[in-house]
Amino acid sequence: MGAGEVGFHLARSLSRQGHDVTVIEVNPATIERIEDELEVRVVRGNGSRPAVLARAEVGKCDLFMAVSSSEEANLTAALIAKQTGAQRTVVRISEAEEVIHDRRLYEDLFGVDLLLSTELLTTIEILNEIRGLNTMAVEYLAGGKVQLRKIDLDEDSPLTQLPLHDVELPDDSLVVGFFHGDSMTIPSADHRAEPGDQALVLGTTEAIGKTERFLASAQVELGTIVIAGGGSTARTVAKALEPFRADVRLIEQDRSVAKQLSQEFPRYQIIHGDPSELALLKAERVDRARTFAALSAHDETNLMASLMAQELRVPQVLALVQRAETSHLWRRLELQSVFSPRQLAYRRIREYIDSDYSANIVSLTRGAMVVERRLAEASPAAGVTLAEIKPPDGMIVGAVARGDRVFVPGGDDRLEVGDLIILFVREEEVATMRLLFPGRERVLSGG
């Protein structure tokens, strides 16, 4: 449903692969374009109306994707589709906060199988870029209370000097995996990492910063980060940067928006002005920044601002582009790090479909998965301590959320019915995991 940029690209590639695609769209111009270019069935009308959905026969489909730009319409449509018999639903929403905090609520209330936020996807990509990691830098689990971070290890890190069981990590954190090249392992107790490896660390939001500083002796110095624009993507990125203690400056054109930003981010410097004005950028010493991120909602402003930043020789320039088809033009101007939210959403959904709707964190790795489970009464693990369960080598119970409390369990901790458990499992052990923790599989990732 919805054949905007995300929907159009999805429809094209899926139909080329031989899937039967039906597109629900209301805009006549878009419909004309679809009928000209794509080999799909088109249903005209508002996709959040039951009658329109019935005409599209959503009850019979394997996958229903609500990817229009209207969050409310997407949720309504997905709810109706699921109720009338659609196998799976994918819903696109804009705000990142919703996905971080209330994903479960959406899954339970609306029966959404994959909830993705273009903003969160973009934020995570940008964060990866800023931190210089080629894949996932941060994931939010259990309503944002638990974070997963990838940390570069050098020869000075405790993890490369000692076997895992001799490293005393700060409380409420846990090493759940190591990346060696492209492959990820779920470690056994005597595992010792090599310099150049990356550790995947899980911890509560309070603990993880400390753990990262403990493990990565050579600190990733984020330096000064200038963000142009104060829209929702800029805010989400700024918020995500908070735990990294970076020196962040936000430039916003609208005074009242700037005012709001200054109340939301007491530690950041908020500057009122036009980010595409060279004089302002010079006055604010943007030339000394390490990163310049043009994240306003307007492509033109972002383009101008990034060119200015390039002129001032800022080492890293990032830009947000709404119109994905123009990104090659940006590259021609030597602006390499261009992020298109719609393209990212499209890619995420493709990954979901290509991986056969599996519960894998696709952005994590191949061969291992992260699963979030609500402990059912039928589970043999209910009421038993972790030591008694004796999880096999390829499986780690990463974190437990009980009521408002989140903790990383030790051997003496007892699992209770109703606990939300985050598991890290190697593919071979998936069967064991299903035995110990029966329940519905859920997709876990930033989007």
Partner: protein, 482 residues
């Protein structure tokens, strides 16, 4: 301007005041002061009759808007002061109407400045009334009225805000009436506990009750000539110090204490700063007193320093020592404290710690903006952002407060006292503190001033209690225009 509903409202307020005058009448009967009992009864009848007349003149028609609200609050305080003065005259304690008005206004505004030269010569009932008016004025007569009258509706919120001290009055409950009731309940609880404790260390019921009234309201009237020093008891000092500190604290903190989510008072930025100011100034003054050998015993110096500092900072005005004779640093520090006051939402007067914090931060923001004009900076107190409208109102308050103090000092010096007397008398009345220095020092009184000065000080006391804006509004021309 809609006078009719305002008049009805004020009439009921005066009726309530008439009822409170029966308390000292009972007190007079208990102590066998029959003449005074009659005098209070006459005063209550006079007051009640005036209230009825106002109700008759008024009507229930017409809405209460902001202008009417301001008129009611200011009118309420003026009328309370006027009718509260009647008993001083009917009992023959103070014969001059202006003296009676000064004493009454000083009571309701919790200032504690007195024109009585020999307090102990007055009857027990009159001294009870003196302390009782402070207790009524401490938590606020309008707040009491709002708590008791259910039918005020949304208009009550504005009245409440005008009377509760501090830059932004917090509502604890969706209905302002419930908020007002909660505040009065907390106030009553503290009053009961302090009275009980004072009796436990040997005071009789009368002394315990009157001193509690003046402590919890941060008023400072004592039925003794020597104030709290009359008891010569460190235990009494400590109890009074503790409850003065309690009274100078934001009362909504106690409510949150009960709700369990704010068990640690020190998490509140304002409270933390309030205690830090108390501690630091106490130590410095204690050191100063020992340095010049005003005191030889460190314990005594410490206790007296603490008592005086708490008494002035919370704007109570009790005294256990004649600080007018203290070294210059100590005196200057005490005068500086007169301009600080307790926390917002407490019963204390003056500018309030919260306004100091916001005011200083606003000024610092301007400093930063000098070299960084494009920056947008929000002011935070604790982790809460302060809206710009509040910051602006605080800056305006600073200017109004300080210029009123300056003007007041000039006008008080016309009659020819010395500089220190005039300046501290203005600060002590505007800040609702009570004693100042020199001729208005803790062992002196305000009887020396002439009629004009006393009238001016009544105005200063009311301006201070209602925190400038409401009364200042009456002096603008556009307020009276439709």
């Amino acid at each position: 301007m809609n006078f009719r509903p305002a008049s009805r409202f004020l009439g009921r307020l005066i009726l309530l005041l008439a009822a409170t005058e029966l308390a000292p009448a009972l007190c007079a009967l208990a102590y066998g002061e029959i003449a005074d009992a009659r005098a209070f009864a006459i005063s209550a009848i006079l007051t009640g009759a005036s209230g009825l007349v106002l109700i008759r003149l008024g009507g229930s028609s017409g809405e209460l808007y902001r202008r009417e609200g301001i008129l009611i609050v200011v009118g309420g305080w003026v009328l309370a002061s006027v009718f509260g003065a009647v008993p001083y005259m009917t009992t023959g304690t103070l014969l001059s109407p202006l003296d009676a008005l000064f004493e009454s206004a000083s009571g309701f505004t919790t200032t504690g400045a007195s024109v009585m030269t020999d307090i102990e010569s007055a009857s027990r009932a009159v001294l009870f009334w003196r302390s009782f008016t402070q207790w009524l004025g401490g938590m606020g007569i309008i707040v009491l009225f709002v708590a008791l009258l259910p039918e005020l509706g949304p208009g009550a919120r504005f009245l409440y805000k005008l009377e509760v001290p501090g830059p932004s009055a917090e509502a604890l409950q969706p209905r302002i009436r419930e908020t007002a009731a909660i505040l009065w309940k907390i106030y009553l609880l503290f009053t009961a506990v302090e009275t009980g404790l004072l009796m436990l260390v040997g005071m009789d019921l009368y002394d315990a009750l009157t001193h509690t009234f003046s402590t919890m309201s941060t008023g400072g009237f004592s039925p003794r000539n020597a104030s709290v020093a009359a008891f010569q008891s460190p235990l009494v000092d400590v109890i009074v110090i503790f409850f003065m500190i309690c009274a100078g604290t934001n009362f909504s903190l106690y409510y949150r204490l009960k709700q369990r989510d704010g068990w640690n008072l020190f998490r509140d930025t304002e409270f933390r700063l309030y205690i830090i100011i108390l501690a630091v100034v106490t130590v410095v003054i204690g050191w100063d007193l020992l340095r010049y050998q005003t005191y030889t015993e460190p314990a005594r110096a410490g206790l007296d320093s603490l008592f005086q500092v708490v008494s002035i900072l919370t704007t109570t005005g009790f005294a256990t020592a004649d600080f007018d004779g203290w070294p210059v640093l100590s005196r200057v520090l005490l005068v500086a404290l007169m301009f600080v006051g307790g926390c917002a939402g407490s019963t204390s007067g003056s500018m309030k710690v919260m306004r100091m914090v916001i005011g200083i931060k606003t000024a610092l923001r301007e400093v930063k903006l000098i070299f960084n004009p494009n920056a947008v900076i929000s002011i935070f107190v604790g982790r809460k952002p302060v809206p710009d409208s509040v910051a602006r109102s605080v800056a305006g308050f600073f200017i109004l407060y300080l210029s009123t103090w300056g003007l007041g000092s000039v006008l008080l010096s016309v009659s020819g006292p010395d500089l220190v007397t005039a300046a501290t008398a203005a600060a002590a009345t505007l800040g609702n503190i009570g004693p100042g220095l020199r001729a208005v020092g803790p062992t002196m009184n305000f009887a020396l001033f002439d009629a004009w000065d006393k009238a001016l000080m009544v105005l200063l006391m009311l301006l201070g209690r209602l925190e400038m804006y409401a009364i200042a509004a009456l002096f603008t021309r556009s307020f009276w225009k439709p």
